[in-house]
């Protein structure tokens, strides 16, 4: 196997008396779509917070292309190529849809503050490139018509897609999606599935996706891990995971739609 893009080793996080993530290990290969499932409260979002630097781990390590990155602040990790969305949607609600994406394009390309103040030719060129990239992303995610709308006024599904556009604008190699299909109807879920597949192709992405809807995950993912009470109870291809007795008991067996 090639060098994993991301690896978590024995990662744990304690909140008071609660072990929200309990010595979780797995590795994600470049180009993979990796699923993360588990009942509500299993520690999936906490795991994303640990990986993206939002929450420091109590113990364990996160490795990026083999290098330890544990404890680095979120903006540094993002600049390494790690972007995420939020389960509870955290858009810049006062800004327009286009501005939400432009904010995330800060460094693509970079331009100096002095150039910006003086509106230098270099700055204008950089701004044009940013605008072009932003419109392209909006187009890709079907948000062009909403570009001037204030993000806070968008419908739910549009917000979810704007979260993805904004994360993509940072130019990631790894995209962490926290329940991107939550609140979508079956048709929309189907579209999302295709969208994620297409995005992976066009942006050479590796994706880790948290999702409750098991059929969707089974279809989308190359491999997946199952969390239960903070513990990784299974890891493998969707087929392997589906047959795992522990999984059937802990999650799939109880109906498979904990949300």
């Amino acid at each position: 196997m090639s060098q994993p893009l991301l690896e978590v080793r024995e990662l744990s996080r304690r909140f008071g008396g609660l072990l929200a993530v309990d010595r979780v290990s797995f590795a994600v290969q470049p180009g993979e779509i990796f699923g993360l499932i588990g009942p509500n409260g299993a520690g999936k979002t906490t795991l994303f917070n640990l990986i993206s630097g939002v929450t420091p781990p109590s113990s364990g390590a996160v490795l990026w292309r083999g290098e330890p990155i544990t404890g680095q602040p979120p903006h540094r990790l993002n600049r390494l190529g790690l972007a995420r969305t939020f389960q509870n949607l955290r858009l810049f609600e006062g800004l327009s849809v286009l501005e939400n994406v432009l904010v995330a394009l800060q460094r693509r390309p970079r331009s100096s503050a002095a150039g910006g103040l003086l509106n230098s030719a270099g700055h204008r060129r950089a701004e044009r490139q940013r605008l072009q990239a932003a419109w392209q992303l909006l187009e890709e995610l079907g948000l062009t018509a909403l570009a001037e709308r204030q993000a806070g006024t968008l419908a739910y599904g549009d917000r979810r897609r704007l979260e993805m556009a904004r994360a993509l604008a940072t130019g990631p190699s790894l995209l962490l999606l926290d329940e991107p299909a939550a609140g979508l109807n079956p048709a929309e879920k189907d579209q999302l599935c295709q969208l994620i597949g297409g995005l992976r192709q066009r942006h050479q992405l590796t994706v880790i996706i948290i999702e409750h809807h098991v059929p969707l995950l089974m279809r989308l993912c190359d491999r997946m891990a199952v969390l239960d009470f903070g513990v990784r109870i299974a890891l493998g291809t969707p087929e392997e995971v589906r047959r795992d007795p522990q999984v059937i008991e802990a999650y799939l067996g109880t109906g498979g739609h904990a949300s």
């Binding site: 993206s52 939002v54 602040p73 979120p74 903006h75 993002n78 600049r79 972007a83 995420r84 939020f86 955290r90 858009l91 810049f92 609600e93 006062g94 800004l95 286009l98 501005e99 432009l102 904010v103 995330a104 800060q106 460094r107 331009s111 503050a113 910006g116 103040l117 509106n119 700055h123 701004e127 605008l131 072009q132 419109w135 570009a147 001037e148 904004r166 994360a167 604008a169 940072t170």
Partner: protein, 305 residues
């Protein structure tokens, strides 16, 4: 009536309003503006009265280039102070930041009051005058306001300004989008301080005397009121707020003591009647529709592919 002296005061109010606005545009409620204003003013008062190389004349005159130099130095010193203090206090959020910055204002005030060379409670007086009349101060005050307005306007189309707006809406999300929020907040804080420091240097000459009372806690509240009344969603808000609230007590002078009550009522009712402040982006857009092309409008056009 509005005479030239009041006009200069109003412009100083607008400048201080902008100084409060800058950190607020990055979501940081800093009340430190009067501290930086005091630093700039004290520096100018000291330099112009003590350092003869600046060219103060025996009859109280002062070269204009020396005034400009003092404004630059006042901004520089205030900016350096902000750089030092900002690293520390900008770790605090919301009301804690507000309290820490009020503490800074008090520390600076007490320091200026007790330093051996700042004239104690009386302060420094007979600060030399670059202009014979108040009208002369209009030009540098307007010029400084124009520079500050231009800066704010440019920020809106720059990564730094966009990062500030993003932090204001959601700091954690901004961090996850690769924004070094510590640095952005510090930049806004330093810009705010530079502006207040330069304004202080100008004000010291205009007011002719300068003492520790110039940068006190009540000034923190007054300058904040400029932004709250004017609105903090566009830089024109604090400018209008600063102009109006500086003029109001003077314009109300004919009604006697009731004027303070009326002044208080405006500050109280302003946010109730216009929670977003008087000047909002929506208002600017409507004005744009009437033929006054607003910044918001131009931005929209530019953004088309």
């Amino acid at each position: 009536m509005i005479d030239n002296g009041l006009l200069v005061q109003m412009l100083i109010g607008a400048l201080l309003g902008l100084s409060v606005y800058l950190p607020l545009a990055a979501g940081q409620l800093s009340l430190a503006t009067p501290a930086f204003y005091a630093v700039g003013g004290t520096l100018a008062a000291l330099l112009s009265t003590r350092w003869s190389a600046l060219g103060a004349t025996a009859d109280g005159g002062f070269p204009v280039p020396s005034l400009l130099l003092e404004m630059a130095l006042g901004g520089l010193l205030a900016g350096l102070l902000a750089l030092l203090v900002g690293r520390l206090v900008l770790r605090l959020q919301g009301i804690y930041l507000a309290i820490a910055t009020i503490a800074l204002v008090e520390i600076v005030r007490v320091a200026i009051l007790n330093l051996p060379f700042t004239g104690g409670a009386v302060g420094i007086f007979a600060i030399p005058q670059p202009f014979a009349t108040a009208a002369g101060y209009l030009l540098p005050a307007l010029a400084l306001l124009a520079v500050a307005g231009w800066l704010c306007q440019r920020l809106e189309r720059m990564p730094l300004g966009r990062a500030m707006a993003a932090i204001r809406d959601d700091e954690l999300a901004a961090r996850c989008m690769g924004i070094d929020t510590t640095r952005v907040k510090l930049s806004a804080f330093v810009l705010s301080a530079v502006l207040a420091g330069s304004t202080g240097a100008l004000a010291a000459h205009f007011l002719n005397t300068w003492n520790a009372r110039q940068g006190s806690f009540d000034a923190s509240i007054t300058t904040l009121a400029f932004v709250i009344l004017g609105g903090s969603r566009t830089w024109l808000g604090p400018v209008v707020g600063g102009l109006l609230l500086t003029a109001l007590p003077e314009l109300l002078r004919p009604v006697g003591d009731v004027r303070l009550v009326l002044f208080g009522l405006v500050i109280l009712l302003g946010p109730v009647l216009a929670p977003q402040g008087l000047i909002t982006p929506a208002l600017l857009e409507r004005l744009g529709g009437w033929g006054l092309r607003s910044a918001t409008d131009r931005k929209t056009e530019e953004a088309q592919p």
